[in-house]
């Protein structure tokens, strides 16, 4: 277990390199095997993970550029553990469900490289390396969308790339400024996150740095008004691209908030709490309304992603255990649910080559299994109790309730709106008579699709009923982070807010 994190990061990349030697006919099986091994590795990581220890585990440290404080520094805690497992799991599922034939070899190799960057982002504790993985993850996604997407793919791919890249260069300036502050305060260079946690940043600097990091993360999440790249990317991306994009890549942004913004800049986070929360509420309601107006099934799910990410960020900024743990759990559940939904849209698109709801109708009678799984995922997405979606949404909103009940109420309407657009989608596509002749002969899910989807359904049910093992593990690390924030806070208002947010029974 010494080097399991390095193994987790570089195994897919190595396998990707070797994949060049595998012939085209076997490459899909190769990809599934590699991603399955990677998934098993991540499960082994979970088994070896000491849940009673909220700190970083399996730490690996190697000084790469000691004179400038850049190290190869890996570690995992409760916050990142499940995101790693989510990444490996979704990659595996996406490869199992893969139905593309064209240039499949390049695609599988690209996905494996993408997996390296995703796992890398979540395990790395050195900020410069974090930036490196963060940026590197754009290249495979650019290729996936641009090469295997639909008609307007190039525009979508370039838009995706440019948006996220320009956001993150400002983050780079922020990172370097933070390194400078650290050097100024301690006399040594370090880009190690645990070192940075120990630094109390002056309030003015916090505001600027929070802004620099915020732009990088907000574009990735994507937060209103930087969200416009996402519907395009989803609209044009192939199924596997949408699945990974929605399930994992968006989580990098929300993970960044938890990992960087809150613990590094507690005062600035509290200072900007209300503006950020307003943006979140706008995201939730506005995106839900747009989703309702869509005619393309995939666009509905794309906009619902934005809406749900709004609740994730809101939960993160609740500044208490419930909110942050809930938001991390919601990241996981949204990963599972949106991944499954995009995969389902891919299934029907493969059969009918359209995603327009008006072209469907009455699918429930033709494809009963498909309709059932779709229905379950829809309910999970809406946040029906006993599904995985409910736990995270409830905790996030419950957490934020202590900060501001009006906004919580407004964000809560997002769930109602979510039920509206999702049920309308279901009604239009699945119920009623089969109007179009082409739809009468559609085949139900085949074995390949079922084997990709059933694990997701199982997770939706299991985690919806019994999320405790995951929640307690996350919660331990989150509580540790909250204590750190409280210790670091410079301003009295910050301490007061943290106190208020973390006390049960406060007045509102």
């Amino acid at each position: 277990m010494e080097h399991i994190l390095s193994l987790l990061v570089f195994f897919p990349a190595m396998a990707g390199l070797l994949g060049f030697l595998v012939v085209k006919e076997s490459i899909r099986a190769y990809g599934i095997c590699v991603s399955a091994i990677e998934f098993v590795l991540s499960l082994i990581l979970w088994m070896g993970f000491d849940t009673s220890n909220p700190g970083y585990q399996f730490v690996e440290f190697f000084p790469f550029v000691p004179s400038y404080g850049m190290n190869y520094y890996l570690g995992v805690d409760g916050i990142s553990l499940f995101l790693i497992i989510l990444s490996t799991f979704i990659t595996m599922i996406a490869l199992i469900g893969l139905s593309i034939e064209k240039e499949i070899k390049n695609l599988v190799i690209t996905v494996l490289f993408l997996e390296m960057t995703m796992v890398g982002v979540f395990v790395i504790l050195d900020v410069v390396w974090f930036y490196a993985f963060w940026e590197l993850s754009l290249i495979p996604m650019l290729y996936i969308i641009g090469a295997w997407g639909s008609a307007n793919r190039m525009y979508a791919a370039i838009k995706f790339f440019l948006y996220t890249f320009s956001g993150s260069v400002l983050m780079l300036v922020g990172i370097l400024y933070m390194g400078y502050l650290y050097h100024d305060a301690t006399g040594i260079w370090s880009f190690a996150l645990p070192d940075w946690y120990a630094l109390q940043v002056p309030f003015d600097a916090q505001l600027w740095l929070f802004g620099a990091f915020f732009i990088g993360f907000a574009i990735k999440v994507p937060m209103f008004p930087f969200h416009t790249w996402l519907p395009y990317a989803h609209g044009q991306a192939p199924t596997i691209g949408s699945v990974i994009l929605a399930a994992v890549l968006l989580k990098m942004g929300s993970y960044g908030f938890v990992r960087f913004s809150l613990p590094l800049f507690p005062d600035a986070s509290v200072y900007f709490l209300i503006p950020v929360a307003i943006i979140c509420v706008i995201m939730v309601i506005y995106a839900a309304m747009i989703a309702y107006a869509q005619e393309d099934m995939k666009q509905v799910i794309a906009y619902s992603s934005i809406s749900h990410m709004g609740i994730v960020i809101l939960g993160t900024f609740a500044m208490n255990g419930e909110g942050i743990t809930g938001s991390i759990f919601l990241m996981l559940s949204h990963g599972i649910v949106s991944g499954a939904l995009f995969m389902l849209v891919g299934v029907i698109y493969d059969r009918r080559h359209t995603k327009m709801m008006k072209d469907f109708g009455g699918l429930a009678s033709v494809m009963p299994n498909f309709a059932t799984i779709y229905g379950i995922m829809l309910m999970a997405s809406v946040g029906l109790p006993l599904t995985v979606g409910f736990v995270g949404e409830f905790l996030s909103l419950a957490g934020f309730y202590r900060i501001n009940w009006v906004m919580t109420l407004l964000a809560g309407t997002g769930i109602i709106l979510g039920a509206v657009y999702m049920l309308v989608l279901y009604k239009k596509s699945f119920f009623g008579e089969v109007v179009h002749v082409e739809n009468k002969t559609l085949k139900d899910l085949n074995a390949k699709e079922l084997s990709a989807l059933i694990p997701l359904v199982a997770l939706v049910a299991i985690l919806g009923v019994y999320p405790k093992p995951i929640l307690t593990t996350i919660d331990a690390s989150v509580e540790k982070m909250l204590v750190l924030m409280d210790q670091k806070a410079l301003q009295d208002t910050t301490k007061e807010l943290l106190m208020k947010a973390n006390t049960i029974g406060g007045n509102h």
Binding site: F64, V65, P66, S67, Y68, M70, N106, V128, Y131, A132, E135, L136, I139, L142, Y143, G146, A147, R153, M154, A157, I158, F161, L162, F165, S166, V169, L170, L172, V173, L176, Y177, G179, Y180, H183
Partner: protein
């Protein structure tokens, strides 16, 4: 009546002249050999030139003498040693590119190699002196040799490029002369350290005179470094020259210019005369931004690379503007990584060169030429893609580390605005670099005939590209040793 000069021969420190002497002798010897033996093969000429460069390299690395030499005209300090190493390595990497699959007239002529060696001597003189006259001689020697090298390519565009470069260069030389003259008139010396001393004693008065001298100098060096607004020659000259020579021009003459600029401007910026900083600040920001924006609309890859190299030069000037040890270190680290990546990118253009303009009437390397290259030549496309992302400053490839260190240097000296400008510019730059990647990876191929793309490929070209690619990909391993060595040398020469 001049005083009789009596100086001990040992005091001359002739060892300082050795590197330049080796190449001068080499060049002369090559001319003599060519007179005696006709029809020497280009492989012989290339290898013998590389050997002389290796000897020169040894003389530079092994230099143990005094900092000053030859009537105090030469100044062999840390930055001069680093710059010479960069110049020699780039030259040694450039030469094997002459052994392309197709034969070109210039590479068959011994004169090409002799001129090439004279040019290196010129660059070495520029960086190992703080005497304005010797710098001028170095500048002119190298420039005149370079004009000829471009013209030897023997295409209509090459002549156009050479003449354009020559005319603009002559103007710049005039500016340089004026500037040196004014400095001499003001201070009675042509040596930078003495000029500095005198100016400091006089608190930089008279301001008008210094202003004039500086403006002339900015114009003269700005031409060499292709700073906006004296950058207009760059794309045309690069387009007219052969691809490897264009790559060479984007690296070596500039590093020589940077060293001179470093010696001169850092003295002037440190003077505390505020407007001087503004002049440089404006030049830096304009160079980076305008060149980037112009690169966005280029239709030819070579011209795009030309504009992008202007932009890179702009960020290097930012290092000189900042002027701390870290910034100067960043300049050299950046340029070393840029050397490998940019030379690699130009070599790729050299490999895919085709005699006729098959893809576009006007341009040799339009973007459409590279459409769907990944489906025709996956390896070539991947390597080119890596070079592009590296030039765009994508981690963890080479140029990123230089950029990182440079932005950090800017932040550490409280030039936050400049840091943000550099960062935003690299976001703009990623668009045009990515354009090529998009063409290579996402578009459908125009033709599926791989031979069209490999008419000029040869083993030695592939070796150079492979070497550049390896350095680019694994650059992280070189960051620490480079930082250590360069910081040491830069700090020891007081920059």
């Amino acid at each position: 009546m001049l005083e009789p000069i009596s100086i001990d021969i040992a005091g001359l420190n002739l060892q300082a002249l050795l590197p330049m002497a080796i190449l001068t002798i080499g060049a002369l010897a090559l001319i003599c050999v060519d007179l005696a033996v006709k029809g020497l093969n280009r492989s012989f000429l290339t290898m013998i030139t590389i050997l002389f460069i290796v000897l020169d390299f040894g003389a530079v690395i092994g230099y143990k003498g005094d900092v000053r030499g030859f009537f105090d005209v030469l100044l062999v300090d840390g930055i001069s040693l680093i710059a010479q190493v960069i110049i020699l390595v780039a030259s040694a990497l450039f030469l094997p590119l002459s052994m392309s699959h197709r034969h070109f007239r210039e590479f068959k002529m011994a004169e090409f190699y002799a001129l090439f060696m004279f040019m290196i001597v010129g660059f070495q003189c520029m960086v190992t002196s703080d005497n304005l006259i010797l710098i001028f001689i170095g500048l002119e020697t190298s420039s005149l040799a370079l004009y000829t090298l471009i013209a030897l390519h023997n295409r209509a565009k090459a002549f156009e490029a050479a003449i354009k470069y020559f005319t603009m260069g002559a103007l710049a030389a005039g500016f340089y002369g004026m500037s040196a003259l004014i400095f001499y008139a003001l201070t009675g010396s042509v040596e930078i350290h003495q000029i500095e001393q005198v100016l400091q004693e006089r608190h930089f008065q008279p301001l008008v005179g210094i202003l004039a001298a500086t403006i002339f100098m900015v114009a003269a060096l700005g031409f060499k470094l292709s700073l906006v607004p004296s950058h207009t020659w760059t794309p045309d000259v690069y387009e007219g020259s052969s691809a490897p020579l264009a790559g060479y021009m984007s690296i070596v003459p500039k590093i020589a210019g940077f060293v001179v600029a470093m010696r001169l401007f850092e003295m002037l910026v440190a003077s505390g005369v505020v407007w001087l900083e503004y002049v440089l600040y404006a030049a830096v920001v304009l160079t980076m931004t305008l060149a980037n924006i112009t690169a966005l609309v280029q239709e030819d890859v070579k011209r795009m690379l030309a504009f992008s190299s202007i932009s890179h030069a702009g960020s290097m000037m930012a290092a000189i503007l900042i002027g701390t040890t870290q910034a100067n270190t960043a300049l050299f680290v950046y340029w070393i990584f840029f050397l490998f990546t940019n030379l690699g990118a130009f070599t790729m253009l050299w490999i895919v060169r085709h005699r006729e303009n098959l893809w576009d009437e006007r341009y040799q390397h339009p973007y459409t030429k590279f459409s769907g290259l990944v489906k025709i030549m996956p390896m070539t496309a991947t390597i080119m893609g890596i070079f592009m992302f590296a030039l765009a400053g994508m981690p963890p490839f080479s140029v990123f580390w230089g950029k990182l260190y440079l932005i950090s240097a800017a932040i550490n000296s409280e030039y936050i605005g400049l840091a943000i400008v550099i960062a935003i510019n690299s976001a703009v730059a990623v668009y045009y670099y990515m354009k090529l990647v998009v063409y290579m990876f996402l578009h459908e191929p125009v033709t599926i005939d791989a031979r069209l793309y490999a008419t000029n490929a040869s083993t030695s070209l592939k070796v150079i590209v492979g070497f550049a690619a390896i350095v680019t990909i694994f650059s992280i391993a070189f960051v620490e040793p480079l930082l250590e060595v360069i910081t040491h040398y830069v700090a020891s020469s007081g920059f």
